[in-house]
Every structure is written in C-alpha cells, then in structure tokens.
Assembly symmetry: C2
Homo-oligomer: 193 residues x 2
C-alpha cells in the first residue's frame, strides 16, 4: 500500500456501454495524464490552419514517425484528410498565449496567425511556430479511425528547434498548465512532503 493510504476511487463501466456518467468520470480521471502542448499546422485550400493539441506521440525512430489524434469532425482533421503535409511544433513554457490563441477551432482562419510568430520552410509549406522547443514537418503515411477520433500518422521529412536549448516545455495537466519556468533539474531527488 501507498504509505499515505490514499483515498481510492473505483468506477466500473457496465457491459452495455458507457453512460454519460461514465464519460464524465473518464474526463475527470484522464486529465491526470500530463501532456506536452503542441500546435498542428497545415495549409488547406490556401489557408493556414493551426490548432493546439496535446494528444500526439512519437511512434518510432526508424523511420521518425509521429501520430496525432484529432476529433474526426474537426476542421483540422478535415484539412489533414485532404493535404498530405503538416507541421507539429512543441510549445515552450513561455508560449501559453499561443496555446490559448490556437485552442479554439471556432476561430476564423482569416488572420489566425497574425499575432502568432511563425515561419515556414518554403512558400506554401505548413507554418511552424517560432520559439517552439522542436518543430517537425510531416507527411501522412496512415490514418486510423478510433471511436470519435482519427489517428494521423506522419513520417518526419524535416525537423529542427526554434528555441534556446535550455527552454522548458509547456505542459497541460488537469484543467491548467504546468511549466512556466520553475521545474526541477532532471536529476532532482526531492520528494513532496
């Protein structure tokens, strides 16, 4: 047992399928997964699309491969269904404003990036977020539908960093952010009291 004998909860989903209460409990528990914050970008029908994401992961080194999970009916999923090239930028701890600005898919595409510093590797390429810890240009190689979402799997075609090497990550946890500058060094051994 944990030395502090924590309050433990248990919630079982009935075999007949999840109820609204099951989904609510899942939302409460799944936000305990801390996640780095990124921005997915693509040029679709001539417009820059960009949306803040937390549901992405590195799948493989060989070849370098990343996947992002997007709500299948979202604007960005529609864009990635139609264009093969996209970008992913990993936000630094000082980019909470970027995460917030691009966090709502209802934002008009007109002027979407006017106040978000960005660059691109070539005319017509996906915009990449200036100041990000790392950026990746990707080419979709597979798509998988899973429940309400689509997994877009991309192979990296180019990559780099756009922030100083000591920059720290922006992290989503529960209903807020962690990460604005006071993390522990990597080898810290302290424990919470």
């Amino acid at each position: 047992m944990h030395p502090n004998e924590p309050a433990r909860s248990e919630h079982v989903i009935s075999g007949t399928g999840p109820s609204e209460a099951d989904q609510d409990e899942y939302k409460r528990l799944s936000v305990n997964a801390a996640k780095g914050v990124g921005v997915v970008t693509a040029v679709h029908r001539g417009w820059d699309n960009a949306v803040t994401v937390t549901d992405f992961l590195s799948v493989s080194y060989d070849p370098p491969t990343i996947l992002v999970s997007l709500y299948s009916l979202s604007r960005m999923a529609e864009a990635l269904d139609e264009v093969e090239r996209w970008g992913l930028s990993l936000l630094a701890s000082d980019q909470r404003g970027v995460a917030d600005a691009l966090g709502y898919e209802g934002n008009p595409l007109v002027g979407l990036l006017d106040h978000v510093p960005h660059f691109r590797r070539a005319d017509g390429a996906a915009p990449l977020i200036a100041g990000s810890l790392s950026w990746f240009e990707l080419r979709t190689v597979a798509k998988h539908e899973v429940a309400t979402h689509t997994l877009f799997v991309g192979e990296v075609t180019a990559m780099g960093r756009a922030a100083v090497a000591t920059a720290r990550p922006l992290i989503r946890f529960q209903s807020g952010y962690l990460g604005a500058g006071n993390e522990l060094p990597a080898n810290d051994e302290r424990r919470p009291t």
Copy 2:
C-alpha cells in the same frame, strides 16, 4: 519572429529515407515532448507483466478509449497480443522509483512487483499501481502496426484513482523527470524572465 531571436536548427531527411544521423537528430528533438509517465500491466501466462511507458494517449471520451504505443518486439507487446485485458496507471510525482524499477524490459518477471505497491480488482486481473493518480482497466479493441511499433487501442472497462486529489504527475522530459512537487498552480500567469 520570436522576440529573443532563438538559435534555430534545421535538419532535412532525404527522400531516400532516414539515415542513422537522421534518427539521432530525431531522438534529440522528439524528447522535447514532455510526457506523463504511466505503467502498463497485464497478466500473461500466469505472470504479472509491467512496464513503464510514456507513449500513450486518451483517444476518445465516447466510449472512453486509450491507446499505448509499444515496440512490436517487446515483451509487453507480446503479452498484449495474447491477452485482451490490461491496465494503465498514471504515476504521481513521488513514484519515480516505480518508473525506474519498471523501466527495463529485461527485468525478470519473477518478483517483478515484489517491491512495487499494487492492487488488483479481482484474482487474475491486471495489477494496478497503488498511489497512482488514475488507473484504467482496458480491453483491447484494435491494434495498428506503425513502423517498429504497435498501437494497442483499449476501451476502458473500469477506472479510478489511487492517490489524493492534490497529487502531482511524474513527467518525463528530455533525459530526465520533472514534477517532484514544485509545479505552478494551474492558473499561474507568470512567465520565465
């Protein structure tokens, strides 16, 4: 442009496919994705299997669905290929020792969890890590091969928490951990100077 005009790097993968240097650069850049730390568990051929993971994500609320990406030739991937039920426990910031103890797949299965506090919902069910922020019992509903890895997609059948509500997450970043107790409050607005 970013106001501090950061050092920016750029690395392009040639169309003939990734070289070892490309993979090395990808490793350097992809570890800038901060990730919560979890433990995947399963009972396979009578043995408790458990391995520390960072490559998992919540795919959907309806139904509650999680995926984990495992190296296809790993012991845990072999286990999940053969058993339908598994567990995922999200580690708290004071569980770095658990993450380290279960971080190597070469560990013998005999006694693997002897020094890791755990519980299970029923005889023969997957062990779950005591003191974890959240735990999930899952049933595999899909598998997708992606490059060197397999995505195991599971629907949640039961879930809960095993730590006090104020517990903080253990977070992997670059080659170390963040999270041992001094994070910012969620609504903090400070910026690094």
